[in-house]
Symmetry: C2
Subunit: 198 residues, 2 copies
C-alpha cells in the first residue's frame, strides 16, 4: 500500500513522527477495531495530548471535526480535520495495561500501555508518562445517570479519521489487543496510519 501507509498489526503499535502542518489518517482496516492514539511533543515528550485539558478547551467529551486536541500545557497539538466513521470515539478510559488483563484473568496479554512504552523506548524515550489515550472508534456511551455503557466499535472496514499536527509530534497508534470484552467485538484486528500529501 506504499505512499506512507504503515500497517499496525493486530495487538501491536507503531510510532510515526509528524511535522507541524502535516496531515495523517488513521484507518480501521477491517472494521470494529479500536485504536488507542497518543501524541507527544517531539522535543519534550512530557508534553502530550491530554484528555482532561482537551475537554476543558472544547467543552465537550470529545472534539468534533474542526476542533483541536490540546496538550497538558494547553497548546493545540492535533486538529481533528475529518471524521469518515460513525463518529463514535472515547476519551474517558485509561489505556489497557498488564494489571487490567490480570484483573480479567489473563496473566500474559499484550496491552496498549506496553505497546506504547515499547515503541517509545525504541525511539530512545525510556521514561514516559502514559497519557489517557484518544480511543478512536471506541464505543463508551454516557447514560443520563452517569453510568457508562460499553459496546463494540461501530466502524466498517476502511472507515478513517484525518488529523493535522499543530506541533512537531510523535504520534503512536496502538491496535487495541482487548479480546476479553466487546469493544473490538472479541476479534482484535489491524489499524493503518498514513501520512497524507501536503
Amino acid at each position: 500500500m506504499g505512499n506512507g501507509f504503515v500497517l499496525v498489526p493486530a495487538r501491536e503499535a507503531r510510532a510515526m513522527p509528524v511535522a507541524a502542518g502535516a496531515r495523517f489518517r488513521i484507518v480501521d482496516v477491517e472494521g470494529q477495531q479500536v485504536c488507542d492514539l497518543f501524541a507527544f511533543v517531539a522535543d519534550d515528550v512530557f508534553e502530550y495530548a491530554s484528555a482532561e485539558h482537551t475537554r476543558v478547551w472544547i467543552d465537550r467529551l470529545f472534539p468534533r471535526a474542526g476542533e483541536e486536541f490540546v496538550t497538558n500545557r494547553r497548546r493545540p497539538i492535533l486538529l481533528f480535520e475529518q471524521d469518515n466513521s460513525p463518529g463514535v470515539h472515547d476519551m474517558l478510559c485509561a489505556a489497557c495495561d498488564l494489571i487490567r488483563y490480570r484483573l480479567l484473568g489473563a496473566e500474559e496479554h499484550a496491552s496498549c500501555e506496553e505497546n506504547l512504552k515499547g515503541v517509545m523506548a525504541e525511539l530512545g524515550h525510556d521514561a514516559i508518562e502514559t497519557p489517557q489515550p484518544i480511543n478512536l472508534f471506541m464505543s463508551v456511551r454516557v447514560e443520563p445517570d452517569g453510568s457508562l455503557t460499553w459496546g463494540p466499535a461501530p466502524t466498517r472496514a476502511g472507515d478513517d479519521v484525518v488529523f493535522q499536527a499543530r506541533l512537531d509530534a510523535i504520534v503512536v497508534a496502538s491496535a487495541c489487543p482487548q479480546d476479553l470484552n466487546e469493544i473490538n467485538n472479541f476479534r482484535p484486528s489491524s489499524i493503518g496510519i498514513q501520512l497524507l500529501p501536503g
Copy 2:
C-alpha cells in the same frame, strides 16, 4: 475547631497524611466552593488516584457512595463512604493552572496545580505528576450531545463528603481559586479537611 479539623483558606491547599483504614471528611465551609482533591500513595507518589482508571473500575463518570477510587495501578485508594451534599461532583476536568489563567487574561493567579505542587514540595516531593483531580462539589453536566455545561457548585455551608483510605495516602485538598467563571459562584472561599475518629 480542634479534633483534627484543618481549615484550607480560600485559594490555598493543605496536605494530610491518612493511614489505611482511617476516615476523613471534606467540608464546604461556606457553600458553593469546589475542592480539588488528590490522593497519592504515601510510599510512592507516582501512584495516585486516577480519574481514567476509576471510570473503568466503576463504569461511571464518578463513584457513588459505597464505591471506590482507584490508582493508576488499579488499586483502591479511597472509599467514597458518605455524600452529605447535593451529590454533584466532577472528574472530567484538569486542575486549573497558570496557563489556564493566562488564557483567561490573568497573568498572576493562584491555581490548584501550583497549590498542589507547593504542598507536595513542602513534604519533600519536588517532582510529581499532576493527576486529573477529583473535583468535589463541581458542577459540570454532560449533555446528551456530549457537550459540557458548567454551573455554580450547588452546595450549602456545611455540606460534606466522607472517605476512608484503603492505602496509606497523602491527601491534598485545594480550595479552588477560580474566580473568572461560575464554578465557585465568583467568590472563592474555604474548605475544611478533618480526620475522623476510628
